[in-house]
Symmetry: C2
Subunit: 240 residues, 2 copies
DNA sequence: CGGGTAATTGACCCGGGTCAACAGCAGTGG
DNA sequence: CCACTGCTGTTGACCCGGGTCAATTACCCG
């Protein structure tokens, strides 16, 4: 729940009250989800905003014939799916990758929060703007980068995000994604993801085995990926 | 300026006061832009929120080596780039396609608006959530659809958006995009865009010449594109 | 030990990219 | 009024990055 605080407080200044309230909301209505289950499904009426307390999930869209695109990964500390406010039906699904622990925040609670706490409301908004920036970069990634660059870029993004929430250990981290997941996120086939991973290994950039990623040469990996973490908005912006 | 009202009022209920205020903001500080100019450039500090009064623009990102991806199109009535609130630097640029007429809304004005007018604030937020939904669909589009489907999908989207703001005439509309623009938006090469357009013409789905698009068979085009307009949020959601 | 999922590898193929030439047309200046 | 320039669109020949298909090898867990 600390991580929730971290991931929203980047975006606005919170009072101790705001913090306590959020903390409280994120510790009621906890739900545990098994790995590889749909958490919410396309077409459903959205009911909750979720706070990821533990585990990895992905947001994905599917075409009628089964082609699947992962459009985002969700990590601990992320607050996600605040479509409670707008959509009749969700236009995408969310699935767990690992086992999850999530907090569900109901619509009324969220509405109260937004009405009574301008700081929190702003943080929620900026959180969405940050997601939008990330989604743009994904469009660029899939649209313009080569398979090799694309995969490198995804690894850079995931590692940077994990780092920002203290889930890296030096230049290593847990990495629960399968090659099929990586394929669905990059718009490649699993076979080709495998080949590109071999190349990344061969170039001495990464090690990846038994769900553990080590970035052997971060600078070189970022160069290969044409990666710049600006779009992730991991740090507080002095702006506002 | 009417169109502005339309495009934001989808998302929240406005009082007559809200409406007047917006109208006012969108009629001060009008700027005219020539075709094919950068309106705002990556790396700049964002200063204004813009309302597109007339013309087409695109949002794009570039890689250091010059590869370019258009990540969104902006049309009359769209309010865009409310990053005033968050970003130190923009992570993308915006360029005019046709000649533009835009209204610039300054940061203080916007902040006042958000503070004093909860309805407007919500509409702005939901506007961003809608953009996010569109951006996800673009990721899917570029990641999973074939060249043919992808182009058809883009045409469907543009035509649907134009229709929602009354800029279609039966099943025809003005269409200022070049094949290079279409290529940058779909992640294809201009040459291949040309070939796919020929196929769409050959299949009797569209006519496209001298900046005029006619959708000869809307249903068939949508089927070919695997298009469903739900993600565009063109209509008021009964939700909230 | 068995069964299922994930990773790996090789052989072959194809959608879309690349390169290049050319045509159409608008704008511009002499 | 015409020549020139530059952008946009079109077409053809060829090529290659990444997909497809299929078999095999790790794993993991009961």
């Amino acid at each position: 729940m600390n991580s929730l605080r971290i991931r929203l407080e980047i975006f606005a200044k919170f009072s101790q009250d705001d913090r306590d309230l959020l903390q409280q909301l994120a510790s009621r209505n906890i739900r545990d989800i098994r790995p590889r289950r749909d958490l919410v499904r396309e077409g459903e009426r959205p009911r909750f905003v979720y706070v990821m307390l533990d585990g990895w999930a992905c947001r994905y869209k599917m075409l009628p014939d089964g082609r699947r695109q992962i459009v985002a990964f969700v990590m601990p500390g992320d607050l996600f799916d605040n479509h409670v406010f707008m959509l009749r039906e969700l236009d995408h699904s969310i699935a767990s990758i690992t086992a999850l622990r999530v907090a569900e925040i109901g619509r009324e609670e969220l509405e109260a929060l937004v009405t009574d706490r301008p700081g929190v409301a702003q943080a929620l908004w900026l959180n969405d703007l940050a997601s939008l920036a990330v989604q743009r970069e994904w469009t660029l990634n899939v649209g313009q980068r080569s398979a090799y660059e694309r995969l490198a870029h995804l690894l850079c993004e995931l590692f940077a995000r994990l780092g920002s929430i203290g889930m890296t250990d030096g230049n290593a981290c847990d990495f629960p994604l399968t090659q099929v997941d990586l394929a669905d996120a990059t718009g490649l086939t699993p076979v080709h993801v495998n080949r590109m991973l071999q190349e990344l290994r061969g170039a001495g950039l990464i090690e990846l085995q038994s769900r553990k990623l080590t970035v052997l040469d971060p600078a070189a990996l970022q160069t290969a990926a044409l990666f710049n973490d600006r779009y992730l908005h991991l740090n507080r912006e002095p702006g506002i």
